[in-house]
């Protein structure tokens, strides 16, 4: 092969070995003058490379899906006190641990999907100075990582989340603190336990919403199971396959949100 030795030899020169006279413009009828080319995204020169890239993306099934059999281990249960979930793969356990035990509030045992949300929770629910400070300045941090806005109340924050960040108005990890119930939490260890995700303790109960729920809300949810929220769309929509789903789905969703909003 050609000149491979050249690769290892670090030849660096600042000046060309040959002289180059000053550039003259082309003489008609000739028109060539050197220029660097820029190729925008759509340039035909890039077509074949783009196609190759997309063939790779679409073919990825073959290599990525062949997930190797996960090594099964003999069943074991979570070692965290009070948690009795059983696992037969390490991945399953890792996922469980990170969901329920990694970002856990040490005061009230609630678990959060991220450290960021946990930090905000601890500050707002358990920092005794927080309420005092919040009366004087905006203390409620935005939940979106990277946004530095702060607000006077959790209500203001919710409005901000919905209008600026386009968050759903019933965002699950933004439950306002209820002054009374929270003091109850911190005093009664029994109640703390029931505020743990219901899935674990009473797994037979129809329960979808599991994290970050106060006992009161649990009962509300149980009294109106989510399955009642699902319904078939009006008959006329069924026959037309091309109707954008937003038409029927969107309205349904809004209604759903509204009814949830009242409860909160």
């Amino acid at each position: 092969m050609l000149l491979l030795s050249g690769l290892s030899a670090a030849v660096r020169a600042e000046l060309p070995l040959l002289p180059a006279p000053a550039r003259a413009p082309p003489q008609a009828p000739f028109r060539f003058s050197p220029r660097r080319l820029r190729c925008p995204r759509e340039h035909e020169l890039l077509e074949d490379g783009d196609i190759h890239r997309h063939l790779y993306l679409q073919d990825i099934l073959v290599s990525v899906t062949q997930v190797t059999e996960k090594p099964k281990v003999s069943e074991f249960s979570c070692h965290i006190a009070g948690c009795c979930q059983v696992f037969d793969t390490l991945e399953g356990y890792e996922h469980h641990y990170n969901t329920l035990h990694r970002n856990v509030c040490s005061f009230c045992k609630r678990s959060f999907p991220s450290g960021h949300l946990l930090d905000i929770h601890i500050l707002e629910w358990h920092d005794s100075l927080f309420q005092i400070m919040a009366e004087k300045q905006s203390m409620y941090q935005c939940l979106v990582q990277g946004c530095v806005e702060k607000f006077k109340s959790s209500k203001d924050r919710k409005d901000h989340l919905v209008t600026v960040h386009l968050y759903p108005s019933d965002f699950r990890f933004d439950r306002p603190k209820k002054a009374k119930s929270s003091t109850k939490h911190s005093k009664s260890p029994l109640l703390q336990n029931t505020s743990m995700p219901v899935d674990i303790k009473t797994s037979e109960q129809p329960q979808v919403d599991s994290m970050e729920i106060s006992p009161v809300e649990n009962m509300e949810n149980a009294s109106q199971p989510l399955s009642s929220l699902i319904s078939l769309p009006p008959e006329k929509h069924l026959n037309r396959s091309r109707i954008p789903s937003t038409i029927c789905f969107g309205q349904g969703a809004t209604r759903g949100f509204k009814s949830m909003k009242k409860k909160i």
């Binding site: 600042e14 995204r41 196609i51 062949q66 990170n98 078939l232 769309p233 069924l238």
Partner: protein
Amino acid sequence: MPYIEAACATALRKARKQQQLISKRLLREDTQNGEGKAGMEIPTDPLSEQEVLQLLRDTQKGTEERKKSLSCLRQALQHKETQQKFVRLEGSMRVLIGLFTSSLADVQMEAARCLHELSHSSDPAVAEACLPATSYLLTYLSGHSIEFTELCLYTLGNLVVESEAVRKQLLPQGIISALASCIQSPHEAVLEGLGYVLSQLLQAKEASIEIIPLVLDSALPQHMLQLVCSNLELGMGVAVEFAWCLHYIVCSCVNNALLISQGIMSTLVLLLLELASMVSKAVADGLELLICPVLRCLSNLLAEEMEGCNMQVQDERLLVALFTFMQYFLNHHLFIVQECLWLLNNLTADEPFFCSAMLTLDLIPALLQLLPCSRMVALLVLTVLCNIAEKGCAYCQQLHQKAVLSSLISILTLSDAEVAGQCLELLHLLFLHWPEAAADFFTQAGLQALEQHQHHPELQERVRALMNLATQPAAASPCSLVSSAAVPSSLP
């Protein structure tokens, strides 16, 4: 397989012409058999509305029932029709999100797989039905398990490319900073998924105005530069994704000065050198997927003609690397040859340094060998030769010595007007700077080759100008006008 690939390529080509070239990735654990393509086997017939509704209701029952019905739902959602029925059911997405935010790991995983199936739909309405899920998908990027984070990432990447409404929502929801914190993950699989999301975002038609400025403003570019050259031996997946990201950023010219100031050019040159040494050791399987976007970045950045960017690339080994790629990929991936030549053009256009190095490293014969490859390749080769010839008589003398003329005569006889035109330009430069080349040309079969084009309206003027030289005695060599000290006598 080659047949399928060719058919796919044709479809993709058509989509690209209509600026609708999008692709999605499907992560699907194939439980039945590990061999077949997961995407091809669809287990059952599409479900009716009633059946979908029943499955959704069953997910609200006890744990065992829930798991079973959720996994049935996931399989059913492999059907486009079932996907459409699902999203038209009122409240269905609410229920799915409820399951997705469950604290039971396997319920959450299975719900994530359902969302992922929906994200793979080619119906934009299905992607838009997933809008209520995006804030949760972002929240979970902080990672419960590698597999779960990966699923969330590929789901986001699929949704993002399908619908502008999804992108319009994800940007305010903070996708850029979520990705910027996720990019610190130590896991290859997560990083590759993240690169996928980012590359999908950056391909959006509104990217240069709405997305790229945000990306450039974040910590992402520096991480991307780092990741593009890390761990090549272990796995290329990560580097490939981020190299494409860089390409999409660079070619939209939003703020390339920033990337140049972060040292992108010298980083990419070193990467190419490393890749060339991998190619020369024949560990090149799939390497073209990485080489291609890296070449593009360098070419487009050079086209910026920015202060200081020439110095970042001035390394002769880069030429050797390019020729190593061209030789290796000549037969199977001709596009690599084209894109190497594009870069070679941008290197030689203004820099006598690289023109000189082309001659001293004796790369001209290898360049000439590429002429018959394709029209596009021939044009680019001739343009590079013109760049060199334009640098003056010492260069033309060298080109003449390297037997350029016979290749030019044969390409001139075989070519269409555009290639022939470029050939005429090159001949003119050679004759102008090194008249001995003209004399030599006409003693070979040059005149006949020229006559072939003398009636072509595009070419006739230039053909005539060159033919006149045959009848005139050679003028004094312009080189003799240059001080003799400028003509190097010790060239190899």
